[in-house]
């Protein structure tokens, strides 16, 4: 192969890799912003729900808070659709949202005879934290290279992630060894680079 062709192929490869990395970074940023916005809305809804359930139905701010809570629920509906489009099937987020909505606007919501419900005020934040956790967890599942690789393994092979900490540590060691062998393999397939790299390793 002529020198020109080698250079062209190298440049082309570099451009493709650069574009892929840029695409991944912008995708990750888009997901991160969406997750941040969703989590902020969940926290805001939990704060208003606490105020709402810690006052009775005759309180002055009862009606405005009802409208705010319903508006925030609707906003979360929109975020849920976006998250599902970008993450694909978010069952964990869905079930967490169902429990959260149940606390936000369930019980005697909208009733003028409503009494103070401190349990519900407390539960609003507990359920909110579960929603936030499920959103963040889904986010890291999608943007982390190692988790993406594991997901690929789960999809392609009869492999399932271990549940225990010891199992996960063992898995991490295997993964390190695997990627190490991959990088060494790459060195041997690119002889010039491989020779340099291996000699550097030996120093």
């Amino acid at each position: 192969m002529s020198e020109f062709l080698k250079l062209t192929a190298g440049a082309f490869f570099g451009v493709i890799v650069g574009l892929l990395v840029q695409w991944w970074k912008s995708h990750r940023e888009e997901l991160r912003i969406l997750c941040d916005e969703s989590c902020r809305t969940v926290t805001e809804a939990a704060d208003i729900a606490s105020k709402y359930w810690l006052s009775d139905g005759a309180a002055d701010d009862s009606k405005p808070n009802e409208a705010r809570l319903l508006a925030l629920q609707t906003r979360l509906d929109g975020y849920r659709v976006l998250l599902n489009q970008l993450f694909g099937g978010g069952k964990a987020i869905d079930s967490a949202l169902v429990e959260f909505y149940d606390v936000l606007t369930g019980g005697l919501f909208k009733s003028a005879k409503r009494a103070i419900d401190s349990d519900r005020a407390q539960a609003a934040h507990a359920k909110a934290s579960i929603v936030i956790l499920s959103i963040r967890n889904t986010f890291y599942d999608r943007v982390s290279f190692s988790r993406s690789f594991l997901r690929l393994l789960e999809w392609a092979l009869p492999y399932r992630r271990p549940d225990t900490q010891a199992g996960k540590a063992e898995e991490a060691i295997y993964l390190c060894a695997f990627f190490r062998s991959l990088s060494l393999g790459a060195c041997y397939t690119l002889p010039q680079y491989g020779t340099d790299h291996l000699s550097n390793l030996g120093r």
Binding site: R80, V81, S95, V98, Y101, T105, G106, L108, F109
Partner: protein, 105 residues
């Protein structure tokens, strides 16, 4: 829901204001279930739902003596617009939980 009842669902009981879950259940849902073999509730198009409305409307069916088997056979809850899927899941949850309450009693 939007076409036959309201775009702005209210609270749980009639005394909580217009378009309550109780009103929807007693005036729309139960008569429809009595007259038809198949009832489809399309949740799309409203300005969201308070969970209290959904619990009274759908969970209240069980408390009003309609069997789970009849609900499963006749009632279909639909959310064609994905924005309303959470409300569909909530209504299903309330039907399931109301059954458990009725059985415990």
């Amino acid at each position: 829901m939007k076409d036959d009842f309201t775009e702005f669902p209210g609270g749980r009981y009639r005394e909580d204001g217009e378009f309550s879950g109780e009103q929807f259940r007693d005036d729309v849902l139960i008569p429809a279930l009595a007259d038809h073999d198949r009832v489809v509730v399309i949740l799309d198009g409203t300005a969201g739902y308070p969970s209290s409305f959904l619990e009274e409307a759908f969970g209240g069916l069980i408390r009003n003596g309609i069997s789970r088997a009849e609900i499963d056979r006749k009632l279909e809850l639909r959310a064609d617009d994905p924005h309303y899927e959470t409300y569909r899941l909530l209504a299903i949850k309330y039907i399931g939980e109301a059954k458990a309450v009725a059985a415990a009693e």
